[in-house]
């Protein structure tokens, strides 16, 4: 238990003070830290260049300045990112990478180039016809351009070999986190919903090799303990993210246990490995082709609902919580289909709108409480 607490404390440190992690890396290595906006940035290229890629996913703050770029109906995550950027919070970063997956992200990249002169912004566009060979070669070229930009930023070349090595490290990290999410199901009292989230999130601010080791020792410490019994209601989370923190805090109180997720902020990061074969940049492009069940990856068959239903069956979950990032059109479009399919499959679900900034704790509480009550009488 002692060891577990120590590991969790270290992870919590990273989550609470990403700025500290950035400065420490720069001090130790004298190298660059690159911010990665959501989602699917090929961090391996950055890592291979000896730089530290870290996740930039906004956070809770007051929106004051970013209103000069974005109206109130932009998703809160991007309003927060713009706000932090304008306040200079990201000035320790050497650059950010903006993958323009949705209309909002396109505009964020554009506004960033104009408004945030301290931190260069490298844009990327992912193909929608991602399985088509011309799509894969398009994306390979996009990645090639990114590699060149990173090389001229750092003054170091990024070799194919180094990228292949980085892919090994990242795939190992993905595998480890996947295992953690499985093992965590047996320890719902030690690994609460909040802690589960924190373990995953801490990976955004650490060297992935180091994070893998940390998670591996967490897994073995957990496995040394007897499985914990819980009478909690088992849920799967789907959506962009499960923040603000006040949201998952409610899970303990109302006895909700997270047995799996399909969050962009969490599982979508690590459920698809980089496949073997071809040049490293092609491999990274083919990873995008293999992504499934994500609202940002074109899929006319809309397999996300089936994927979630399978997850419910596999994990024995009691229901699904749709954590809707308010104003996120890609995810909002998926919802009517999810709703219909869940109803058909007789899987209860809760639709809950989240905003990073909003202090809507009371409203969230009412919704969660209602859901918990409904589920316990089923």
């Amino acid at each position: 238990m002692q060891a577990i607490a120590t590991i969790l404390r270290e992870m919590e440190g990273a989550v609470k003070d990403p700025g500290g992690a950035v400065r420490a890396f720069k001090q130790e290595t004298g190298r660059e830290v690159i911010g990665c906006l959501p989602i699917y940035v090929p961090e391996e290229i950055i890592y291979a260049g000896g730089m530290l890629p870290i996740g930039v996913w906004g956070g809770q703050t007051n929106i004051v300045q970013s209103g000069t770029y974005l109206p109130s109906f932009a998703c809160s995550i991007m309003r927060a990112i713009m706000e932090f950027a304008m306040r200079g919070v990201y000035n320790d970063l050497s650059a950010v990478v903006c993958p323009m997956h949705c209309d909002t992200l396109k505009c964020i990249g554009e506004n960033w180039k104009v408004g945030i002169s301290e931190v260069p912004c490298f844009c990327l566009v992912y193909p929608q016809n991602r399985k088509n060979p011309s799509g894969i070669s398009y994306l390979t070229t996009e990645f090639e351009h990114l590699r060149k930009k990173l090389e001229s930023l750092s003054g170091r070349t990024i070799t194919d070999e180094a990228i292949n090595q980085a892919i090994v490290i990242y795939n190992e990290h993905r595998k480890t986190i996947r295992e953690f999410t499985r093992v965590a199901r047996d320890y719902p009292l030690t690994i609460t919903a909040q802690k589960r989230h924190m373990v995953i999130k801490s990976g955004f601010f650490m060297d992935k090799a180091k994070h893998t080791l940390l998670v591996k020792s967490l897994i073995s410490e957990l496995k040394a303990l007897p499985a914990e019994k819980s009478s909690g209601i088992k849920v799967i989370l789907t959506g962009i993210m499960a923040e603000p923190d006040s949201f998952l805090e409610l899970f303990n109180q109302y006895n909700l246990v997270v047995v799996g997720d399909d969050l962009a902020h969490e599982s979508r990061q690590f459920r698809t490995d980089v496949p073997a074969g071809g040049t490293p940049l092609e491999r990274l492009a083919r990873r995008w082709a293999e992504v499934q069940g994500c609202s940002l990856a074109y899929d006319p068959e809309k397999r996300r609902s089936n994927m979630l239903i399978d997850m419910v069956r596999e994990t024995g979950a009691d229901g699904v919580i749709v954590t809707m990032m308010k104003f996120c059109e890609p995810d909002e479009f998926d919802y009517p289909i999810l709703k219909k399919e869940f109803e058909k499959a007789n899987i209860p679900h809760l639709y809950i709108e989240l905003e990073q900034q909003a202090d809507s704790a009371e409203q969230l509480r009412t919704r969660i409480q209602g859901f918990a009550e409904m589920m316990s009488t089923r």
Partner: protein, 409 residues
């Protein structure tokens, strides 16, 4: 076509025929495609597949005040109020298949091109899933560099090939490349005439009543690959030239006092009230960011050019281009002021609009206002706010004209 028809009558007739023709084609058991508004229509046109445009249908429903009931249907299904209202209108229509603007036949295949937004990807995915029909996706990567880059062009051409293959499979017929070339020619010719007609509004006073542009737009959307659209835009040009020769302005009963550019889509649900209010102040819309999106001109032997042209419309371009584009319009059309429609539906426009407004203002010195609205969801539009903003704009334009020593009555 009767010779005495005015362009407005001709427009109405062509649109009526277009929609009636689609229904008749469906009756005959022919394939129907639904398509986004700036998708490469050349492929379906070559294949002889009747194509209808949900955005155009939704706009017509909005203009006839029928959008709220369809929006209600889709919101009931779980479509968020934050989603583009064209999509909400259309998903509502899909459910009840009735509208004040008439019926469109349900599609057998879908053509989606995200050169306008990524919203349409999600929207068309959902139709494909609901109806279980094939979707042909033309992905035009957003151009964060100023120009369309070469690897985008290659990728787009790869998709053209894929689309041809898909269409051959869907129809069981082979693709006729000679016909394709013809269609390419007609389409570019239509775009040329469209551009020419719209450019006539550069004259002072403009012979064109600007809101007509919003109406003519229906045809460049729906019939860009057909000879009839060339005929119509020629007629529009003729009429304008005749008015020009006589020095006639946009209206018989009122002179044009201020020339404005309108950024964004019209508020279809308030088309006549917004129009009247502008007209009462002597404000004529002479330019807009929209019409140029259909100036898709390329050489009929040039697939690269076609790929580039389709990827080049302004919402698919970066901020620098958008600013240049508007500055150019301000210049060419001798604009006195700009109205920015912050259209609740259209995130790809809105989320760059504040910065575009600042930069265009800095560069041109032309005053501007922004109002909140929506193309087809009347709940997001307030006539009172619109009027206040326009009055403010008039004040600014008046002051500026006085400073420049131009008399205003």
């Amino acid at each position: 076509m009767s010779e005495k028809m005015t362009s407005k009558q001709m427009l109405q007739k062509l649109l009526d025929d277009h929609y009636a023709g689609a229904l008749a084609a469906k009756e005959r058991g022919e394939l129907i495609a639904w398509s986004t508004s700036i998708a490469p229509q050349e492929f379906c046109e070559t294949m002889g597949i009747y194509t209808v445009y949900p955005e155009n249908h939704a706009a017509a429903i909005g203009a006839k005040k029928g959008s709220p009931e369809l929006i209600e249907v889709s919101e009931f299904q779980g479509y968020s109020i934050d989603i583009c209202s064209y999509a909400r209108v259309n998903m509502g229509y899909l459910e009840i298949q009735e509208s004040v603007a008439g019926k469109i036949p349900l599609p057998d295949l879908l053509i989606c091109c995200n050169n306008i937004c990524n919203t349409v990807i999600k929207w068309y995915e959902n139709i494909a899933c609901e109806l279980d029909i094939p979707l042909i996706m033309f992905d035009m990567p957003f151009n964060y560099d100023y120009e369309v880059n070469d690897h985008s062009v290659e990728y787009i051409k790869g998709q053209f090939q894929e689309a041809i293959h898909q269409l051959e499979q869907i129809t069981g017929r082979s693709f006729d490349y000679n016909r394709f070339r013809e269609v390419m020619e007609i389409s570019s010719e239509a775009a040329r005439w469209w551009k020419k007609a719209m450019a006539l509004a550069q004259a002072v006073p403009s012979p064109m009543n600007g809101f007509d542009i919003f109406n003519y737009m229906a045809l460049i959307v729906c019939m860009r690959g057909k000879q009839e659209s060339i005929d119509l835009f020629k007629l529009v040009a003729q009429e304008c030239e005749a008015k020009l020769a006589q020095g006639q302005g946009p209206w018989k009963d009122r002179p044009e006092e201020y020339r404005i550019m309108w950024d964004g889509i019209a508020c279809w649900t308030a088309l006549s009230t917004t129009y009247k209010f502008l007209k009462n102040q002597g404000i004529n819309m002479v330019g807009s960011t929209y019409p140029d999106s259909w100036s898709i001109i390329y050489d009929s032997h040039d697939l690269d050019g076609m790929a580039r042209a389709y990827s080049s419309n302004f919402v698919n371009r970066n901020l620098d281009f958008r600013v240049d584009n508007i500055c150019q319009i301000v210049n060419d059309f001798k604009v006195d002021g700009i109205i920015y429609h912050c259209n609740r539906s259209c995130k790809p426009q809105d989320f760059c609009q504040y910065e575009v407004q600042r930069q265009v203002g800095d560069r041109t010195g032309v005053p501007s206002v922004m109002f909140d609205g929506d193309q087809t969801d009347p709940r997001a539009f307030s006539q009172a706010q619109f009027e206040t903003r326009i009055q403010a704009l008039v004040e600014m334009m008046k002051t500026r004209k006085q400073q420049q020593g131009i008399g205003v009555k």
